[in-house]
């Protein structure tokens, strides 16, 4: 602002439109809608990431379970069948890595069901062999099962397909639910921004008519007014989005300080690139406000002679 402007209260062209004192509740509503939209967007990204994580965690792997024989020396029988199964697996094309889970790892797997009471110490547990397939390799489970049965009659192959399809179904449900919620909130946000913009313009109808009557072109009036709504919607929605980003970051910090997330669920925090996606929320909201204001002003001006 120029010195002369300061002396006289002269203001920049963009502020011909008054900044309403009563606009604070509308700004608050836009901020809340932006918060909800950013939470929905973040949640849909988390759900999507979780679905991919579950799938990639289980695909490309085969677990062979060797059950203890019912008769004879159980431990020696188990060891012999594990060795035979390992030989079969090593000889199977496409298998990149084979690893027998230790007793401790097996005990940890059953712990959620029977606890640490030591009651299983004397009970022979099945042995688990984790086979990792080479990237891009597919496994003919039936053929492997047939070869294993010949070498180790108590070996059972599990390619996780049943578990994975259920998990995939759950992940898809979560993902599509998140997309649905995101869509609903985006629609509601757009409606609120449009309604508030139109309500504000109704209040300034006389001013629009006066500027028009003084010879202002529709574009000049629209520029002043759309800037007003664009800037206030941008600020309000930025505030809401930043709050959502802080919330996601805060949840991420809980894991760091030792508050564990729920087992099987993905971490509820966002990565940096996912956080960057949240910037789309204020951009879209400000864009809606800008477009609504412009179209409304142009329609008001066109309705005047």
């Amino acid at each position: 602002m120029s010195d002369t402007g300061k002396k006289t209260g002269m203001i920049a062209a963009r502020t011909i439109m008054p900044r309403d004192k009563g606009a604070a509740p509308l700004d608050f509503v836009i901020a809340v809608m932006a918060l909800l939209a950013a939470l929905a967007l973040g949640s849909s990204m988390i759900a999507s990431r979780a679905a991919e994580g579950w799938q990639s965690g289980l695909s490309g792997r085969v677990t062979v379970q060797v059950l203890p024989p019912e008769t004879g020396d159980v431990q020696a029988g188990l060891d012999a069948e594990v060795r035979s199964a390992l030989s079969v697996l090593h000889a199977t094309p496409g298998v990149a890595q084979v690893r027998v889970l230790s007793d401790g790892e097996i005990a940890a797997l059953v712990e959620p069901w029977i606890g640490k009471s030591g009651v299983v110490a004397g009970i022979p547990l099945p042995r688990l062999i984790d086979a990792t397939l080479a990237p891009g390799e597919a496994m003919d489970t039936a053929a492997l099962q047939a070869r294993l049965e010949a070498a180790a009659p108590h070996a059972v192959v599990d390619d996780h397909r049943r578990w994975m399809s259920r998990l995939q179904g759950l992940a898809d449900t979560v993902r599509y639910a998140a997309y649905g919620i995101l869509l609903l909130i985006a629609g509601a946000t757009a409606a609120v921004v449009m309604l508030s913009t139109r309500a504000g313009l109704d209040a300034h109808h006389d001013m629009v008519a006066l500027l028009h009557q003084m010879g202002a072109r529709a574009g000049f009036i629209a520029r002043n007014i759309e800037w007003h709504y664009f800037s206030s919607a941008l600020l309000a929605s930025l505030a809401g989005t930043v709050a959502a980003a802080l919330l996601f970051t805060g949840i991420g910090s809980l894991a760091i300080v030792g508050v564990d997330a729920v087992p099987f669920l993905p971490p509820l925090s966002l990565t940096l690139s996912e956080l960057a996606w949240l910037a789309a929320v204020p951009a879209v909201i400000a864009g809606i406000a800008w477009t609504t204001a412009r179209l409304s002003v142009l329609s008001v001006v066109r309705a005047i002679y």
């Binding site: 120029s2 009557q213 003084m214 002679y305």
Partner: protein
């Protein structure tokens, strides 16, 4: 400058408030529009300042026939007209200075170019110390003077005013008429609607008298002063 040919005007399906109005305002003329309340003065002024289209008849403004003018040409025509009107309020959130400067800003001028003019004009209408005041803190007469300053600041080709001296004391009224006369001397065509017979009789110019929406009389006024 302004030509009306058989112009008629009605609002919606109501009665005609102007009927077969024909007259010519020559460039550089100074004209009073008189008539009783309800005679159609304000409606006629609204037609001239392009606030309303006529129901019938032809209006020619600055050589442009309005019936055939493109919509995009109207803003430029409006900017050539200074208007002092009750329906033409000040913008309440802008200072007196900014209200007066508005036509210049709409014309795309920079503040550095018009700052001195706006200050001088506000001082001339007695508001040199109220430049930063908002309209709500100004009296009715002061608001009227700001509106007049806004109407004349861009030195319009045509100035139309509806009872411009109605809210000011006689001394300021005479001063404002001198301002209009000075603008007229510099080439602005002036049309003033008024009830003030003394003002009409004391100022050099022409009078168009409206009666029930029709032009009853057009005459030259006495010229004791101007």
């Amino acid at each position: 400058m302004v030509r009306f040919e058989n112009v008629g005007m009605r609002y919606g399906s109501g009665p005609e408030v102007l009927r077969d109005v024909s007259f010519l305002l020559a460039q550089g003329s100074f004209t009073f529009l008189t008539g009783l309340s309800g005679a159609g003065k304000t409606t006629l002024l609204k037609l001239i300042c392009l606030a309303e289209p006529p129901s019938r008849g032809l209006i020619t403004l600055f050589g442009e026939e309005l019936a055939t003018a493109r919509r995009g040409e109207l803003p430029a025509l409006r900017r050539r007209i200074g208007v002092v009107f009750q329906d033409f309020p000040l913008l309440s959130h802008l200072s007196a200075y900014d209200n007066v400067a508005l036509p210049l800003r709409l014309a795309g001028k920079r503040e550095a170019d018009y700052h001195r003019d706006v200050r001088e004009l506000l001082s001339w209408v007695g508001l040199g110390d109220r430049m930063t005041s908002k309209p709500a803190t100004l009296s009715g007469g002061e608001q009227q003077r700001v509106a007049i300053a806004r109407a004349v600041v861009a030195r319009p080709d045509l100035l139309i005013a509806d009872e411009p001296t109605g809210n000011v004391d006689p001394e300021m009224g005479a001063k404002l008429i001198r301002l209009f006369a000075e603008l007229n001397r510099l080439g602005t065509t002036v049309l003033i609607a008024t009830h003030d017979r003394m003002l009409v009789e004391e100022t050099r110019g022409r009078e168009i008298r409206l009666v029930e929406g029709q032009v009853m009389e057009m005459r030259q006024t006495a010229a004791r002063s101007a």
